[in-house]
């Protein structure tokens, strides 16, 4: 086991320019030591290659980093993020299609954390409205930006190096291409894990599920994007094993984007958005165009036989979804082993993608947990921070709720994001201003 794992899945590093001369004092970080969050799948092969005694992961990581440096993620297979403090350099890297996350912020120093909430508590991260609009319209997509300004996420297959000299400076930034990542993630020699319970929605206590959301939002440090995540959180909490094998029923519940809704974007929920969010339309459009261009380029280069929505699903939706599921497991001190990392399994998943999964909540339910009633109650208790961004008045929310019959999942997602956003604004006001 690596040092990182012994520390109970908690990893934080805060560097300021003033601290630089005394790097050895950086919160217990040792020079020339590699810290890993995640697991390797080709450990034995690498041990043989580097002539290292099998079973000594720390020695293997240190040797691998020394040998391959910023190319290490091309050689080490698995699902991980690595951090390496080496002389006056700090290297961070992640595996191809990594579900483990690392957040960083370079603003008055450098801060790193595996957990977004740790970072957003420590540094003053204001809300990134552009990302919020993107999340509301497209759902979670894998990318560099988070819902806080200045806080970025290490992308899968990405390597960053900072020079820690007079000032902290990003000196190297490289990322494996989508195709490279799919090839590198082929290795199937995954650790053994207990299969996680299949997603079954018949016998769920909806009130309990509804009440799980604020605590999940608090732990994640950002609004909950889908009720499925609260359901998953419940299941992970109930399971006793430390390593859980992901079941595809949790992946099929992801937010699939069809081409039509991708371009229509925010139009269906425009009424509820106030000018600060509507101003971000141009940015959203740019992002959409950027994705379209990347897709076209990928098609020309590799002649991928994927439609745009399938390509989006493969490279943006599934990775983001897996990362959130992994973060939920990490909060419970567990590791999620993802068998849907290799291209064969992924392609099956993408090709089988059906219509949107059904919503959890329904207008017909007679329950306090009826999320639509709850959303409308926000009108009475909504926080000023929420009300700055959303039109939470009965006329507009009622109109939106009525769309529940034709867009059940989307209305539910919007409601969940709004409710948990308001909750975070209530108890962490400084962070969502």
């Amino acid at each position: 086991m690596s040092k990182y794992n012994k520390q109970g899945c908690l990893f934080r590093l805060l560097l300021t320019d003033q601290q630089l001369p005394n790097q050895q004092e950086l919160q217990g970080f040792e020079q020339e030591q590699c810290y890993i969050n995640g697991y390797l799948t080709n450990e034995q092969a690498i041990c043989a290659q580097l002539k290292i005694e099998s079973g000594n992961q720390q020695a293997l990581l240190n040797a691998a980093l020394k040998r391959w440096g910023d190319k290490v993620n091309k050689h080490l297979c698995g699902d991980y993020v690595l951090v390496w403090l080496n002389g006056e350099q700090l290297l961070v890297t992640s595996s191809a299609r990594a579900s483990f996350t690392l957040y960083y912020q370079q603003h008055n120093g450098l801060a790193l954390a595996t957990d977004l909430s740790h970072l957003s508590h420590q540094v003053e991260g204001t809300l990134n409205q552009e990302q919020l609009l993107q999340a509301l319209t497209l759902g979670p997509l894998a990318g560099k930006y988070t819902c806080f300004d200045h806080i970025s996420q290490l992308q899968s297959g990405e390597t960053l190096i900072w020079q820690l000299q007079q000032t902290i400076k990003l000196s190297h930034q490289a990322r494996l291409s989508h195709a490279e990542q799919l090839i590198l993630a082929q290795d199937n020699n995954q650790p053994t894990a207990e299969p996680i319970a299949i997603r079954v929605t018949d016998d769920i206590d909806l009130t309990e599920l509804f009440n799980q959301m604020p605590s999940l939002a608090h732990r994640l440090g950002e609004p909950v994007m889908d009720v499925t995540l609260a359901h998953f959180d419940n299941i992970v909490q109930a399971s006793e094993a430390n390593s859980l094998l992901l079941d595809d029923s949790w992946l099929t519940a992801r937010n699939m984007i069809d081409e039509r809704s991708f371009y229509q974007g925010y139009s269906w929920c425009k009424g509820i958005l106030k000018p600060p969010l509507l101003k971000q339309r141009d940015q959203l459009k740019k992002f959409q165009q950027q994705l379209t261009t990347t897709f076209e380029a990928a098609q020309n280069e590799q002649r991928e036989s994927l439609s745009f929505s399938q390509w989006l699903d493969l490279h943006y939706v599934i990775p983001a979804w897996c990362q959130i599921l992994q973060r939920i497991c990490q909060h419970h001190g567990k590791t999620l082993i993802n068998p849907y990392i290799g291209s064969k399994q992924l392609m099956n998943l993408v090709m089988q993608a059906d219509n949107q999964p059904t919503a959890y909540f329904s207008l017909q339910q007679v329950s306090l947990a009826n999320i639509y009633d709850a959303m409308q109650r926000l009108f009475h208790v909504g926080e000023p921070d929420t009300l700055k961004l959303f039109n939470l008045n009965p006329a507009i929310t009622a109109r939106l709720v009525r769309r529940q019959t034709d867009l059940p999942r989307r209305v539910e997602q919007l409601s969940v994001i709004l409710l948990t956003f308001d909750y975070l604004a209530r108890f962490h006001p400084g962070r969502l201003n």
Binding site: E208, S367, Q376, V401
Partner: protein, 317 residues
Amino acid sequence: MNTLMIQARDGAKLACHRYCPEEGLDTYARLLFLHGGSFNSRRYANIAKACVKSGFEVILCDWRGHGNSEGTPGTCDYVGQLEDDISDTISWFEQRQPLPLILGGHSSGSVVCLRYIEKYGQDKLSGCYFIAPAISNTLEPLRFDAPGSKKSFMMNYWRKKPSYHPAPESSLKHIPKMNNRKFLLALVLPFLRHRTVMRFPGSAKMAALEGRVLNYSFNLMASVSIAKYSKAFRQIKVPIALICGESDEILHPSFLPTVAQWHLPPTLDKEVYMLPKLNHMSVLSGAARVLPQWLAQRWVKSAVPQAQEEHLVEQVG
């Protein structure tokens, strides 16, 4: 038990029934308990006795106009007078023998406590507890739909109420009836605010024997209501216990768990007890069982685990 008459700021004498642990035993904290609407402290002696056994001093307070307290039965001088009375009572005890104070009550008594917290803050409190808090200003806390709830839902949320569940006959004996016409008149004409607008079910003869007050004026009714309960709960920073019977006739069984998760701060020491088979009144017997446990886990030194002890030290600091 001894009864103390404490003078409120307007000169009225308020009855406080004090239960103390036996001489020579430690007293860990003082519990202030407010009875539910229409009743008085007499009904709550079992809870007091159970808590005293665990080493807590218990003060059962009669609201003004109720039990042995002075005041006109069924009304008060102004909206909010009851929380002023709590404040006067707390100050009186604090001046004589300071002890960590835990405030709470049953039904409307809980709402008065919540109003006190909203108005006076929690500087003087070490904890609070709410037994079946009768929050009835909004629709969502209620188990059953009142006759006008369809209209009210439509006015609030601009859509049709998805369901309508009127209270069964058996539950009506606990639910007070409001005279909407008189209420609206009193709202517009302040001089009518001492007249009865709400009536508790029950015979006048039995009420007289039990010392109950069946008729409530606008002022008193408004003093036991809270418009923005979520805002009040959100402010709570001291350990809190929420206790309710699963068969409560007034509160929806999901309400308190929802309050705990959505309206109380995420890192707060909070505990929800949903007691099976108990209703709005029989929950008192259940509360007499769980409340002393909750208190002991937090305030009795020998029973306090290390982590909680640190939490208490932090609070004292």
